[in-house]
Symmetry: C2
Subunit: 82 residues, 2 copies
């Protein structure tokens, strides 16, 4: 089995109101040095070793991402400390 992470974020050119709201809350809590916050979706998939990178890209693009406003990153994390 392999563990794969797909992180989906809103494209930088698109306004992220959720991120802005969190940034405002952080500043109201008195923290300094926080310049930007962007919120996205984090998917963790348990897949058989037979699953190819191409299949993962297809699923990330067609099912997990709205490619008009979002972009994604696919990472295999079986070795990484996660």
């Amino acid at each position: 089995m392999a563990r794969v992470v797909v992180d989906v974020t809103i494209k930088p050119v698109i306004l992220d109101p959720q991120g802005k709201a969190i940034l405002g809350a952080i500043k109201r809590l008195g923290y300094e040095g926080f310049d930007d916050v962007r919120q996205g979706k984090h998917f963790e998939l348990e897949v058989a070793d037979s699953v190819t990178d191409a299949q993962l890209e297809e699923i990330a693009e067609s099912l997990l991402t709205n490619t008009v406003i979002e972009e994604y990153v696919v990472r295999r994390v079986e070795n990484e400390a996660e």
Copy 2:
């Protein structure tokens, strides 16, 4: 400036209906070898170098995570290819 990622996921013991729905969709699309999908939240923060790990942990725990049902991982990613 440093880039920090906070990934928030539902605790393994908690049912993740969203993840189950995505898993069902993947299988209906005819893909094989997918055993589990869990969906969480992905935050990307741009922070000054003065921001400490302790502050990041505080914010992750108090603002970004519902610690009753969720757990989080904080990662500095300025070097990692992301």
